[in-house]
């Protein structure tokens, strides 16, 4: 008897349920068993992959990965239970049902990541509802798979053997994906393409089953067409995944994306809508060219206009060169040192014509030295002191960044501040994160500085806070000698006045062993309504 004949007999037997329960003596059936068991392996791998993709996508888009993973896995496992329970209602045409389920799970699971990402970016519907609907649907279908395979195999293998083999292949498949997902798939293929890849595998299992049982499926053209159709759609999705992601990202940013790159440190995205150029780092707005002059004039001039003797300036962070542009307006400044961790940032803002126009080509100034290093390590080795220091770091949204707003860090900066020099710190919003802002003031004071906190309205950000710090008391400048668009001596003086809703609150300094600032900042911005 040929192999295919036996397979056909088996398949028809599966249909008619006539073959005795167990017949281990059949010499050739192990091959079919192996085929079905390897499909269990693939099916299990796909099942776990969809779960991981959904969990990762939800944490990427919604944050709070504990909650996202926990609820996605919970919903998914529950749905699988529902699927397993529903499988008892499939009484006839087990193989046909299996093929249909494979096609459905391949299409739905494979496209889910792409569709969810697009729906989030384009705001097509309530994202969480769509997410859990998709997770539930895929879970039900995946839950149907294993019981069906077990029933198809049941006629060939004794029950104890069957359970042992099917479940061990099931768990092996899960193991393979759990290792491959974080190491290879997520970092190299991305979530959307990984989704399509596993969809293709499911569709492949459907095609394989059609071929294995081809005698049984003779004439069922619709099923074959459906399987090939699904395979083609998923293949196209796999190829176009990069384009799809870019498209979705451009919806995410409202304005057309004119540049996007991923450096080892961050995702840099530049958008442009007519005259408005915006920089996003990891999706957070850094500036809008419409009002960035307000931010950077407020950051630099209240401190520097008062330092006619200043020769050396230091800018920490701020690789866009906009703060440097303001500093270079002062002819007495002989040298500016810009320390930014990410060479991709300084390279971009030193070469792209549009961005060079924006920062006045500051990054190509002969008076500028660019250091692409970690600010702390550089400061620890640097011996020079500076007359004017700008600390323009991202907000203290995690423990690592919180260190750049701590007492020891400000002590380190103090060592590099020349006599009579001044330090300015961007310190988040005194309106949205009032307690955080005054915590930074208290931290600078604990490090031995005299502080002069002030604020300015930057429409893209809202009311924004800055702190001048030095060894001596500060006085706002009487005049500004350089060309400015925003500041006048009167507005500058008024910035140091805090209205009642932003007035000083008692605050503990941000000590490294507590990092109270990080917790405060997180809590305040979570409640901020903008």
């Amino acid at each position: 008897m040929s192999w295919s004949l036996r397979a056909a007999r088996l398949a028809s037997g599966a249909l008619a349920t006539k073959i005795p329960m167990s017949n281990p003596d059949l010499p050739a059936t192990p091959r079919l068993q192996l085929a079905l068991l390897s499909s269990v392996f693939v099916v299990a791998a796909c099942g776990l992959a969809y779960e991981l993709v959904a969990g990762a996508l939800a944490s990427y888009l919604l944050g709070d990965s504990v909650t996202q993973f926990s609820t996605v896995i919970g919903a998914y496992l529950f749905a699988m239970g529902v699927g397993s329970w529903l499988s008892k209602y499939i009484e006839r045409d087990l193989v046909g049902a299996f093929v249909r389920i494979e096609i459905a799970v391949g299409l739905l699971g494979g496209c889910a990541a792409a569709l969810l990402f697009i729906s989030f970016a384009a705001e097509l519907g309530p994202f969480r509802v769509l997410l859990y609907l998709a997770v539930f649907a895929v879970g039900v279908l995946v839950g149907l798979e294993i019981p069906l395979v077990m029933r198809i195999l049941r006629r060939e293998v004794a029950f104890n053997e069957l359970v042992a083999r099917v479940l061990s292949f099931d768990y092996l498949g899960a193991l393979a994906v759990s290792i491959l997902f974080p190491l290879l798939l997520a970092p190299h293929l991305g979530l959307v393409r990984t989704g399509f890849l596993f969809g293709l595998l499911n569709a492949g299992v459907a095609l394989w089953a059609l071929w294995l049982f081809r005698a049984e499926f003779a004439g069922r053209l619709a099923l074959k067409l459906a399987a090939w159709g699904a395979f083609a759609i998923l293949g196209a999705g796999f190829v176009a995944a990069g384009w799809l992601t870019t498209q979705a990202e451009s919806w995410l940013y409202a304005d057309p994306v004119i540049h996007a790159e991923t450096s080892p440190y961050q995702r840099i995205v530049i958008t442009r809508q007519r005259d408005d150029i915006r920089l996003f780092l990891n999706q957070n707005l850094q500036f809008s060219s419409q009002d960035e002059y307000r931010y950077h004039e407020a950051l630099v001039h209240p401190g520097l206009a008062n330092l006619p003797q200043a020769k050396r300036a230091l800018v920490l962070g701020g690789g866009d060169g906009l703060a440097v542009r303001e500093i270079l307006k002062y002819p007495q400044i002989e040298s500016v040192t810009l320390v930014d961790l990410d060479p991709a940032m300084t390279r971009l803002f030193a070469t792209a014509p549009l961005l060079r126009r924006l920062n006045g080509d500051a990054l190509n100034s002969p008076r500028l030295r660019i250091v692409n290093r970690d600010a702390v390590r550089w400061l620890e080795e640097e011996a020079q002191s500076y007359d004017f220091i700008v600390a323009d770091f991202p907000d203290p949204s995690n423990y690592s960044l919180g260190k750049l707003y701590s007492v020891p860090f400000y002590r380190l900066l103090k060592r590099h501040l020349a006599p009579g020099g001044r330090l300015v710190v961007q310190a988040t919003s005194p309106f949205y994160a009032r307690q955080s802002f005054w915590t930074v003031v208290a931290t600078l004071e604990d490090a031995g500085f005299k502080t002069a906190p002030y604020h300015a309205l930057v429409p893209s950000f809202g009311e924004w806070g800055f702190i001048l710090a030095g060894r001596e008391e500060y006085r706002p400048p009487e005049t500004f000698t350089v060309p400015l668009k925003f500041l006048t001596p009167e507005t500058a003086r008024a910035m140091f006045d805090f209205p009642a809703d932003m007035a000083r609150l008692p605050a503990e300094p941000n000590r490294l062993n507590q990092q109270n600032l990080v917790r405060l900042f997180e809590a305040e911005w979570r409640h901020a309504v903008r």
Binding site: I179, L512, V518
Partner: protein, 538 residues
């Protein structure tokens, strides 16, 4: 290709692909420490007769925290005429450290809790080293902020998630949480408990603890027994308590004296003006920062690589013979008093005429430890839940997790780092564990450690560029029931004629505070023997 061949290959492909990808080559590294060859040599005893005899008023054997504290105490009393002989190539003992191009990192003890009110000499020492500002005996002194462990201090990995703190709380039933609360209420009560004379139930140094039998008798049962006697039976709490026993004593809760186990939770009452009470003092090199600041003061009197192989005394003086391996000769030091700040377990092998009860006390079982330092090209990828902390523990692991050497650095950028992984081999009898510690090669340990850590960090194998193993064959005495208050520690504390024993193992708890206390106490007694009376720092 025939159909069945195709099927077989197709079925095995994913497996082949995954084994190839998930097993990068094992990282290189050294295998150091382990007093194994040495123990053998001591037993054989074939050392040449001393070729030279030197005389000094006072000799210290061992340059760990106890020996260095003794030296520090002698200098404070104005006695500079002493020598320190150390077996290893560098001072530090259990507080030793090493350094590579990425960071300094510990080879042993890695933190010091805020000192208790009773740890008077230790506070003086910290002030002297610049770690404590203002009045050392203040209720809430100000500590050097760079030494206070930066937040977040610790996290635990359980069921795929990292949680802040060491006690699992996510997905833990209310009954278990209530048990936690009850346990900590009991510990708080013990922390505040005092006897009629005002002595604390559990003090640190433990010599200041109350002798009242209602607490001392707890040395007769195990920590496990105590938990069960108090209806504390949840696996989560048991794991936590067992973890703490293994972490501090290298001994499972089922074998640890309940007095010792409770002491861990109830003795700490140190506070700081600028930190929360549970904050610890640490540095990239662990407790090595103390050695780094203290040992150079005695550099001119410190001899390393010197194995004491004979200790003897007469009515007039004591002497110690050393084998100087580098010089290939032996040397005798005669002193009026000797501070033996090396582990007591070595004494029966070297001390001529050591009274049998003291020798018996010295033979208490010790715990073997493994410390592995993993040099990583980048921190492991963030998993689900809380981010990288200083101390990172895997729930249910036989090992103790790892601390991050670069955690105290101010830098915010993710760069290369060193993880110090601890494993007290408490899961089997000490002798068998010691044999295993000696027998396994660096690649074997590396494979085991990476497999264990890959439970939480899938990328650990790829990121680890070096994995250096340091072995402590006899890291610490095991505080099993009866060890602390059964008489053997008191026997050692009394000393032996002109030899004063100064080592944390004399107390029975291998803690920096005890090492310092024993070192200072032995130095003060030796000073008294030399006729110098000084006000005790203790």
């Amino acid at each position: 290709m025939r159909r069945r061949d195709f099927l077989a290959v197709a079925a095995s492909l994913p497996l082949i692909a995954c084994t190839k990808k998930s097993a990068p080559p094992l990282p290189p590294g050294t295998l150091s420490g382990g007093d194994f060859a040495l123990g053998h040599r001591l037993r054989a005893g074939d050392f040449p007769a001393p070729s030279e005899t030197r005389r000094v008023p006072l000799l210290i054997v061992g340059a760990g925290i106890a020996g260095l504290s003794a030296a520090w105490r002698l200098e404070r009393a104005g006695l500079r005429d002493f020598l320190i002989y150390e077996l290893e190539e560098a001072p530090g003992g259990n507080a030793r450290f090493a350094e590579n191009e990425v960071s300094a990192y510990p080879l042993g003890a890695h933190y010091l809790p805020l000192p208790t009110r009773e740890a008077r000499a230790l506070r003086e020492l910290l002030a002297d080293l610049g770690a404590l500002e203002g009045d050392p005996q203040a209720a809430r002194p100000h500590y050097d902020e760079r030494l206070l462990c930066a937040a977040p201090q610790e996290r635990v990995y359980r069921q795929g998630f990292w949680e802040e703190g060491l006690l699992p709380r996510l997905g833990v039933s209310r009954a278990v949480r209530e048990e936690y609360a009850r346990f900590f209420d009991l510990m708080q009560a013990l922390r505040e408990a005092r006897d009629e004379a005002g002595r604390r139930a559990f003090a640190l140094p433990l010599a200041f603890s109350s002798p009242a039998p209602r607490w001392r008798s707890l040395d007769g049962i195990t920590m496990r027994q105590w938990l069960f006697d108090h209806g504390l039976t949840s696996p989560e709490l048991y794991w936590y308590v067992d973890y703490c026993c293994r972490d501090d004593f290298g001994t499972r809760a089922a074998e640890t004296s309940a007095w010792a186990g409770l002491h861990y939770f109830a003795c700490r009452n140190g506070e700081a003006a600028n930190a929360a009470p549970e904050t610890v003092l640490t540095a990239p090199e662990g407790n090595g920062w103390i050695v780094k600041r203290l040992a150079p003061r005695f550099a001119d009197r410190l001899v390393t690589g010197a194995l004491a192989f004979r200790l003897a005394q007469t009515r007039r003086r004591a002497s110690a013979d050393f084998w100087l391996a580098a010089e290939g000769r032996s040397l005798r030091i005669e002193a009026e008093a000797i501070v033996w700040a090396a582990p007591p377990f070595m004494l029966p092998k070297v001390a001529a005429g050591l009274p049998a009860p003291i020798a018996a006390a010295c033979r208490a079982e010790t715990a073997p430890w493994l410390v592995a330092n993993l040099t990583l090209s980048a921190p492991p990828a963030a998993g689900a839940g809380a981010g990288l902390a200083w101390d990172n523990v895997l729930y249910g692991s036989p090992a103790l997790g790892y601390v991050v050497a670069t955690h105290q650095h101010l830098s915010a950028a993710p760069g290369p780092t060193v993880l110090t992984y601890y494993h007290a081999l408490a899961e089997m009898p000490p002798a068998a564990a010691r044999e295993l510690l000696l027998r396994r090669s660096q690649p074997e340990w590396a494979a085991l450690i990476l497999a264990e850590l890959s439970r939480a960090h899938a990328d650990i194998g790829r990121l680890t560029k070096r994995l250096d193993i340091h072995r402590h064959g006899h890291a610490m005495v095991r505080p099993v029931p009866g060890l602390l208050w059964g008489g053997s520690r008191a026997m050692l504390a009394a000393g032996w004629g002109r030899v004063f024993f100064a080592h944390a193992d004399v107390s029975g708890l291998s803690l920096c505070e005890e090492a310092n206390y024993r070192g200072v106490l032995a130095a003060e007694r030796a000073l008294a023997l030399l006729g110098q009376r000084a006000v005790s720092l203790l």
